[in-house]
């Protein structure tokens, strides 16, 4: 049997094949808006019941996103036991996930880059979970292969064809090719560049970056302006960079600062002994297993359901009024110290004396972007137009305003494709004033959200895609992440909260002003260190 014969056989299916399903209307859609109702309850100061119970602890962590969980993990790891963690409206925060027809899938963050040397805190955490094997300080640690993204990892749909990787390659003119090459040479240079203070120009965690104005000055202009100034104008390159910014920051090159845009490329220099540079760590349900591990290490006895309504500092400690909406019960927490691990726009309503820290709401609160994370439960896999470019983990459409989709079953170790799968489509509502985007999201009907969520999938598979869709679960994240817009590096109020070492400590990705796992974890780490020393 040779290749030609093999080809003939695959054709038979095309000649006699008959798949029974008919094109049919819209699939059932569920829309979740985590935290929205509770957040508005806080904002609008709606009445809540009187507290019925009290609890005293040494340390209370308020919020269970990456920052809060990381702080708790570090405390537990150091043998510190007298603390509790308040879950808040959404346990896990942006690392939450869902399960559709038994298939775990993300409703937020989905991958972790190989942590760089400076992100030692993340390496230690991964070592604790057994994902990183051996010495967490090694330049090239070994990672558990089942969570390194499996091949094929990324592909881009451009001019009617799929191509490997996300950087546009095919059908480019010489100018575009040259600019792409020059851009990557430039970021390779910046990766090793150091400022006058001897620090690397761009580092994760961002506070360890050089404060040399030669670099921090880049935070005062938009990435688009910087690109134009440096002769990076080719549409394929600009689209790609805009895509990267929207994917990481929720806003495009016109909105984010040049510093943030370059940080994305120049700060990531993690390596692995058993994977190429640029590989990412991912789980079928995104980063949810990481949050789950942290939560397990913290222990169920320290977990409290509910959210903080009011945090007030006293002579002897901090009093936290809490509300558990599920039970419609209020309670009071007395703590020597609290770690406020909620988004700053929430903290601004909750922490009574935030202004005392030097934080001015109107001046210091960052704008935040809105996201749509949409899980499409599919009966079978839609046919791929090109057998040489099979479905990848991450699939992106060139020129689209969407961010493509990841495949929840990609990391499964299976011989055959499973009968059902979930495609998770990401969409950041970039290039709209944030308030306008949120107003639209609050009003949009499920059908309108579905139309937006399904655009990339339709572009790739045509309307035949509909036939495969069983069910769609759309998660709307209104205040998903802070935008690292020009000026974000020097907000005095943020600097004040970072430095705060009183009875109230702060930990959240908002302290970095750009929202990635390592940054959120870093602030959790800092808060825990303050407690431990």
């Amino acid at each position: 049997m040779n290749r030609r014969d093999f080809l003939k056989l695959s054709t038979l299916a095309g000649l006699t094949g008959c798949s029974g399903r008919l094109p049919w209307q819209g699939p059932p859609v569920t829309v979740n808006m985590p935290g929205m109702a509770w957040g508005h309850l806080l904002r609008d100061r709606l009445p809540t019941p009187n507290p019925t119970r009290e609890r005293s602890v040494e340390v209370a962590i308020l919020g269970s996103g990456v920052a809060g969980l990381f702080a708790g993990w570090r405390l537990a790891q150091a043998g510190f036991t007298d603390f509790c963690i308040l879950g808040g409206p959404e346990p896990g925060g942006n690392t939450a996930g869902s399960v559709l027809a038994g298939i775990p899938c993300p409703t937020g963050a989905h991958y972790l880059p190989l942590p760089s040397m400076e992100s030692i805190h993340v390496r230690e955490m991964l070592a604790d979970f057994g994902v990183l094997r051996g010495d967490p300080h090694a330049a090239r640690p070994v990672y558990d292969e089942s969570v390194l993204v499996h091949a094929p990892d990324e592909r881009l749909f451009m001019a009617g064809k799929w191509q490997e990787g996300l950087v546009p390659q095919h059908g480019l003119d010489d100018m575009a090719r040259e600019q792409i090459r020059r851009f990557f040479a430039e970021v390779a240079r910046l990766r090793t560049e150091r400022g006058a203070d001897g620090r690397r120009a761009f580092v994760i965690p961002l506070v360890q970056s050089s404060s040399d104005p030669a670099f921090t000055g880049l935070a005062d202009e938009t990435f688009a302006v910087w690109l134009g100034r440096n002769g990076f104008t080719a549409p394929p390159l600009c689209w790609y960079l805009d895509y990267c910014c929207r994917d990481d920051y929720g806003e495009g090159i016109e909105q984010v600062s040049a510093w943030a845009g370059l940080h994305y490329f120049a700060s990531r220099d993690g390596h692995a002994a058993n994977a190429e540079d640029g590989t990412v760590l991912t789980w079928p349900e995104g980063l949810q297993p990481v949050a789950r591990h942290l939560r397990e290490r913290i222990g169920a006895v320290r977990w409290l359901e509910g959210m903080a309504l009011r945090v007030s500092e006293h002579r002897h400690g901090v009093e936290v009024c809490c509300f558990d909406a599920a039970r419609d019960e209020a309670f009071t927490l007395h703590a020597k110290r609290v770690i406020v691990a909620m988004p700053l726009h929430v903290a601004a309503h909750v922490v009574a004396n935030l202004a005392d820290f030097g934080f001015d709401k109107t001046r210091d609160l960052p704008a935040s972007a809105s996201w749509l994370v949409s899980n499409f439960l599919l009966d079978g896999f839609p046919p791929e137009p090109d057998v040489r470019q099979p479905l990848a983990w991450d699939n992106v459409i060139y020129g689209s305003q969407g961010l493509g989709w990841v495949v929840a079953t990609h990391q499964w170790i299976r011989q055959a494709k499973p009968a059902q799968t979930v495609f998770t489509a990401y969409h950041a509502l970039a290039n709209l004033p944030p308030a306008v985007a949120r107003a639209w999201l609050a009003k949009a009907s499920p059908a309108e959200l579905l139309e937006l969520a399904g655009r990339d999938l339709k572009a790739a598979y045509g309307s035949g895609f509909q036939r495969y869709v069983q069910r769609v679960e759309i998660t709307v994240r209104g205040h998903a992440m802070a935008t690292p817009a020009p000026g974000f590096l020097n907000r005095p109020g943020i600097a004040a909260l970072r430095a705060a070492d009183r009875k109230i400590l702060f930990a959240h990705a908002d302290l970095s002003g750009l929202s990635v796992f390592e940054e959120a974890a870093w602030w959790g780490e800092q808060a825990a260190r303050h407690v431990l020393t």
Binding site: M1, K8, T16, H150, A151, E276, T279, W412, I413, R414
Partner: protein, 511 residues
């Protein structure tokens, strides 16, 4: 001649036939284009050359139409309909059969067929116009009506074809369907105009025959494609089935039974004993008192047949993806004769599941694990040859247990073969690579792994063997100069090097 009111019905019929004729014309073009791009690849080239050829032929047809005499118009129109229907209807099936049976003339037949269809279709519209014109319709009105329906028909088919026809009916039956429509137009025209045509009866008979042939073709096209598979396999097909996972074909020629999965030979009953003795006995004969055995893949029950020969074996768990495969090998008489009813043996538990998934949840440990999976020719299969998968296997192996893996040919695909060995080592196994000569496969490779490093190939076999003996066993573990180990990367899930090696190695062997 007939009065204006009585001409209306026939005229309407002619306009309707324009619509059908136009749909059919476009349909054949699309079928030919789709088939050519399926079989030859490069769809842009195939489609544009076929459309070009077809349009040109239509021009030729229009030109030729002027040679038809006015008094013959209706009869010739019917003839052309029948011819188009017949040629177009069988086009996909004929092309496929030719591709399957003969290598050479496919392209020539394809373009000849497309050209002939184009010429005939090109004659249709001018003829209808002339017929209508002769029936005293207003010329400008006539042109606009005919062309409107012509383009409408094209629109309808261009939408139906990709959405409904090609995916649901398949190309062969789609072509027959439009053939039937053409013949239907012919038959209807004969009926309505019978008073105006000479030999109306014989034309009607001809139309009926063509219609019958096409209906038969539509019904039998499944059979015909099956039969044409014989052209690929050469032998008589005794069973063919498309399951959700693969296409299973069993052929027989005299006493030689063969199984093909997706066109790849899995075994020939003439020499499968070599493959299965080599796969099973070097492991089992080295495990005195072996009780629990796991087989991953091996839905043909042939490895199980060999394992069942050991009286100490109490339980065989056989995990194969495809229920159709294990059903076939536990019910078909010639096949159960071959595997000695192994899958029906009370000691054998057949589980239809994905080996990756099953291992993740299975709790027990086994004395021997026999991995007889298809070759790593896809990313999915490649995952079951990866380090994490072998670690999972290791967790299910008892302390002194042995695993053996069929691992493609060390002669034809050396990088792929040694990649399997390297990966097994990376997962913490000590490895013992070996190979055996199986005439229908050539030199074939296996690898045994253990945790202890204490494995010794058997120096004798208590059970009678058809082929294996002490000397062959010793030689199996020796790799001569042309099969020496090559240095390769282990198969990591994040780059799937094995799938690449496998592709490249075999690409060099078969062109």
């Amino acid at each position: 001649m007939s009065s204006p009111s009585s001409t209306r019905r026939p005229d309407r019929l002619l306009i309707l036939s324009v619509f059908i004729v136009a749909s059919c014309g476009l349909a054949y073009e699309l079928v030919a284009g789709a088939l050519a791009s399926y079989l030859l690849g490069d769809s842009v080239l195939q489609f544009s050359s076929i459309i070009g050829c077809y349009l040109f032929a239509m021009g030729v047809g229009s030109h030729l139409s002027k040679y038809i005499k006015d008094e013959d118009l209706l009869a010739r129109f019917i003839d052309i309909e029948l011819l188009v229907g017949l040629l177009g209807g069988v086009s996909a099936t004929v092309l496929f059969v030719i591709f399957a049976w003969m290598a050479g003339p496919f392209r020539s037949v394809l373009y000849a067929l497309v050209f002939a269809l184009g010429v005939l279709v090109g004659m249709e519209i001018p003829l209808v116009m002339r017929i209508l014109n002769a029936r005293q319709a207003e010329f400008s009105e006539l042109v606009s009506r005919v062309l409107t329906f012509d383009y409408l028909g094209a629109l309808v088919v261009s939408l139906l074809f990709p959405i409904i026809l090609a995916p649901h009916l398949g190309l062969a039956r789609t072509a027959f369907l439009f053939g039937i429509a053409n013949a239907g137009v012919a038959l209807l025209t004969v009926r309505v105009f019978r008073s105006e045509i000479r030999h109306a009866r014989s034309l009607a008979l001809r139309s009926a025959i063509v219609l019958g042939l096409l209906l038969g073709g539509f019904a039998l096209s499944e059979r015909i494609t099956q039969w044409s598979e014989r052209g690929i396999f050469g032998d008589e097909i005794v069973h063919a089935e498309t399951t959700p996972y693969q296409r299973l074909v069993v052929t027989q020629w005299h006493d030689d039974l063969r199984l093909y999965i997706n066109g790849n030979l899995q075994f020939s009953s003439r020499d499968e004993h070599r493959y299965h003795e080599a796969l099973v006995h070097p492991v089992l004969a080295a495990l005195p008192g072996v009780k629990r055995v796991l087989v991953l893949g091996g839905g043909d029950g042939l490895a199980a047949r060999e394992i069942l020969r050991y009286p100490s074996v109490q339980e065989i768990t056989l995990v194969d993806l495809d229920p159709a495969m294990t059903r076939l090998f536990s019910t078909s008489a010639p096949l159960t004769a071959l595997n000695k009813g192994a899958l029906k043996d009370p000691r054998v538990h057949v589980i239809n599941a994905d080996a990756g998934q099953w291992l993740e949840t299975a709790g027990t440990a086994f004395d021997a694990i026999i991995i007889d999976l298809p070759d790593p020719n896809s990313y999915g299969l490649g995952k079951l040859y990866s380090e994490p998968f072998y670690r999972l296997v290791r967790e299910h192996l008892s302390e002194n247990g042995l695993v053996v893996i069929q691992s493609t040919s060390p002669y034809f695909a050396p990088h792929a073969y040694w990649c399997v060995v390297t990966t097994l080592e990376a997962a913490g196994f000590k490895t013992y690579p070996y190979h055996a000569y199986v005439p229908s496969f050539g030199e074939w490779g296996f690898v045994i792994g253990d945790r202890t490093g204490r494995y010794q190939p058997p120096t004798q076999y208590a059970l009678p063997m058809r082929w294996l003996d002490a000397t062959t066993t010793r030689d199996m573990f020796i790799f001569p100069a042309d099969m020496q180990r090559v240095t390769v990367e282990p198969n990591r899930l994040n780059n799937q090097s094995l799938v690449r090696y496998f592709e490249e190695d075999w690409h060099r062997v078969i062109r």
